[in-house]
């Protein structure tokens, strides 16, 4: 693996910005509970593809920005994303060899964990309980994962990001 400096850093930043845009894009009322955690998906991909560059720290910063963007408690998403980034960094060598559908299942479980963490902190700070549809976004994310993976891999190969 040759040292590459900051090659392609702006592409990575751009993908995160697009994920932020998708996160707050207005959606029809029916689909409002189905919106997957785009930022988490993008983060998981980059952690898996470039574990030496993208990791817990990036996850934490992305999460903090997400907190400000969504108006949630400062540090809530930061913690959740840092935890799942840590887990995927530990798992990435195994998960990278999985077929796509199996990867999607792993991604869903990690996102469920992040939802659970968010729910805990909501509970501690006295937010009202949420219905079962709270667990839909990870499922949607699982279905979308192959698409996201192939798209981001295409981008990574095109711009030769290492």
């Amino acid at each position: 693996m040759k040292p590459t400096g900051h090659h392609g850093g702006w592409v990575i930043i751009l993908t995160f910005i697009i994920s932020f845009i998708l996160t707050i894009m207005p959606m029809p009322q029916i689909a409002i509970h189905l919106r997957p955690e785009w930022s988490a998906l993008v983060l998981l991909y980059w952690c898996m593809a470039l574990p030496q560059r993208i990791g817990v720290g990036t996850g934490w910063i992305v999460g903090l920005l997400l907190d400000v963007l969504k108006g949630s408690l400062l540090g809530q998403h930061a913690l959740a994303l840092a935890v799942i980034a840590y887990l995927i960094l530990n798992l990435h060598q195994r998960v990278r060899l999985f077929p796509l559908w199996q990867q999607a299942v792993v991604v869903m479980m990690l996102l469920n964990l992040s939802q659970l963490l968010l729910l805990w902190f909501d509970g501690i700070t006295g937010q009202p309980a949420k219905g079962l549809q709270y667990w839909l976004p990870p499922l949607v994310a699982m279905l979308l994962w192959p698409g996201v993976f192939l798209l981001l891999r295409g981008i990574r190969r095109y711009y030769k990001i290492r």
């Binding site: 009322q29 934490w60 920005l65 108006g71 949630s72």
Partner: protein, 280 residues
Amino acid sequence: MLLVLTSILLMTLDHRQQHLQNLRNGLSILVSPIQYMVDLPGNIGQWLSENLSSRQALLEDNAKLRSQNLLMQARSLKNADLENENRRLRELLGSSFKVSDRVLIAELYSVDLDPYKHLVRINKTAQHGVYVDQPLLDAYGVMGQVIEVTPAYSTVRLITDPNHSLPVQVSRNGLRTIATGTGKIDELQLPFLPNNADIKVGDLLVTSGLGGTYPPGYPVATVSQVIRDAERHFAQVTAVPLAHLNRSREVLLVWSGNPVPQEAPDKSDKKDETKPGTSP
């Protein structure tokens, strides 16, 4: 591990006190371009429809607005008279009562935040004199209150947010109670009314002015359902908010007089400011 501890510390601080407002303000400048970009398609659409509408349509629109204006003016003449009479009577009674409030028009950003909280972002900030807890209205009723002011935008909690309650009063008989949000955009709950309370479907609820956040007398909701179940302590009353919570784009910020904004809000556009009577 360190980051986990930092996050927990941050969350505690953010939840307990206001020290982190500066950090939030700084980061809000970073994220506001994203918000602006998301809002852009809606803005462009509006701009296009304004610029591409035909002369005929504009003329029709103009005529309609003119006749409406005439009607409103006639009504406001009568209103002014009533206002004067009201003030005179109140002076006789020796009570102080402020009838007109200062308002400023703000625009919503069309962005979706957390689907479980009903928060919206508006484009007016501390620069315009916006303060935390300031009430927000649209042309039909009360919408919510400002919960956060940053240099780039302000965040507003709508009255239907499950964490929001506001003191209301039935305009027919002055019965006071509290309306809480349910998390559904078209429903409020009145959980603290006993079974024998004098309330019925169709009653208009207005702000009572208790609590000091909302000025008294603005319309909030109409009662849509009353269930009196003898087995329960309280009647189950639901109401439909009058404000177009998910449709309005132009909204009104109200200065009701009691908390003085830190800066003179005269910096804002003069044309934005109007001085209507009690209800817009």
